[in-house]
Symmetry: C2
Subunit: 249 residues, 2 copies
């Protein structure tokens, strides 16, 4: 049931048999959610958190001008609103990009888990710290990098994160966003995203068709993006699985 969570936690730090068993005991309410559905909203005060089992979810905020900024992309194994465990009012919206499966975990169960298994508590804390680290990198991305590098960077990140939870098929991954949505994540207009993608394609770095992304030249893409996966804080093994190296092009 919560296999993706176990895989995710393992990609960050090893778990004991005991801890894995405890995770297996967690009561959950599994829910199938259709695409483009806001299932957690700004202002909510939930008493449960959502473990993403399958699909893709984004967190976003809307500006007064009605523009949406996507602040993060979540993949299976992630708990996008784990922070609601300690922060009462949610200040973002969670939306499915595609039909997704979510396991809701009562905060009560998470608190029990934390007191019974301090190491698991720290592991959960760690996942929220890694989320913060990813936000930091996104600030750098939107603040300093040119549009092409910015787009390339998110592609690199997504490939590595999906690979860490076993959801990359070689250099091919699901890329679950329209160009307009990708623009909302990058802080770029849809038109400009289109031009950026054409640029990346003409450099023979990627192929993107439908909702499949193929990385043709990993080294080149990383080089262009200045991608260094350190900030994802994966274990050497999972990271190694990510790809041989980050040779500059």
């Amino acid at each position: 049931m919560i296999d993706p969570l176990i895989r995710k936690l393992t990609s960050i730090a090893p778990l004991t048999v005991d801890e894995e068993a405890a995770l297996g005991q967690i009561p959950t309410l599994v829910s199938h959610i259709r695409e483009q559905q806001d299932f957690v909203r700004e202002g909510d005060r939930p008493n449960r958190s959502a473990l993403l089992l399958d699909g893709f979810v984004v967190a976003s905020k809307i500006t007064r001008a009605g523009k949406r900024q996507i602040t993060s992309i979540y993949v299976p194994g992630d708990i996008p609103d784990l922070h609601s465990l300690h922060i009462d009012t949610i200040d973002m919206t969670l939306t499915t990009l595609v039909p997704s499966t979510v396991a809701f975990i009562p905060h009560e169960a998470l608190r029990d888990l934390c007191s019974a298994h301090p190491q698991l508590c720290f592991a959960l804390w760690r996942t929220t710290l890694i989320d913060a680290s990813i936000f930091r990198e996104w600030v750098v991305n939107t603040g300093q990098r040119a549009a092409v590098a910015r787009a390339a960077h998110i592609m690199c990140e997504l490939l590595v994160r999906l690979r860490a939870v076993g959801l990359a098929d070689g250099d091919v991954i699901d890329f679950p966003m329209t160009q307009a949505e990708f623009g909302e994540a990058l802080g770029l207009s849809p038109v400009h995203v289109n031009r950026v993608l054409q640029d990346l394609r003409s450099r023979r770095l990627i192929e993107l068709k439908g909702r499949r992304l193929t990385v043709i030249h990993w080294g080149g893409l990383c080089g262009l993006a200045e991608f260094d996966p350190t900030y994802l804080h994966l274990r050497a093994e999972s990271e190694g699985a990510a790809k041989p190296s980050l040779a500059t092009p």
Copy 2:
């Protein structure tokens, strides 16, 4: 000694007498650091975290092009690298903006504190979650807002955060950055920052001279910035202290 930390934690959630006493017991190494000093660097694996007692600190990352993005500004009471407690390799640099005082707390002591006082553990976890929430808002800021609103937003945030720890003098605060540094936080060139500041001054929203920022028209500044302090997750009291309201201008 760790008074600022107590004030900070209290601004988020109440502490028991017991917990306050426990915090008072923490061993620390107090250090005075001169301005513009990198005291934690990318790649470090520290066994202690830095509680900022006095002064200002920024976290930043450098891009290959040699540009620096400031990803956050820390005020007294903050522990900028608390995440190193659970994440081994630091992926950013901490730099003092002005001469500052820091109390280094051994991770060992923090772990002991966490096992002895679960509520304090959650309180510390909560501070890291609020940091993440601030990063999210910064992503929105750099991704969606125009330069003037972006600058105004950071000013609003700084005023509220300083007020929460008792470091605002009415509507006047220390603004510890040069225009160039402010630009590194905003993702703007120094020249453009200058023009933005002139704009804010000519709208009679702020005064900025030397390193003192006076907010002349809080409502107007908030309105322009689309500033809503929810994401800082302060307690009603501390937030109330922040200012009457966020009337749109």
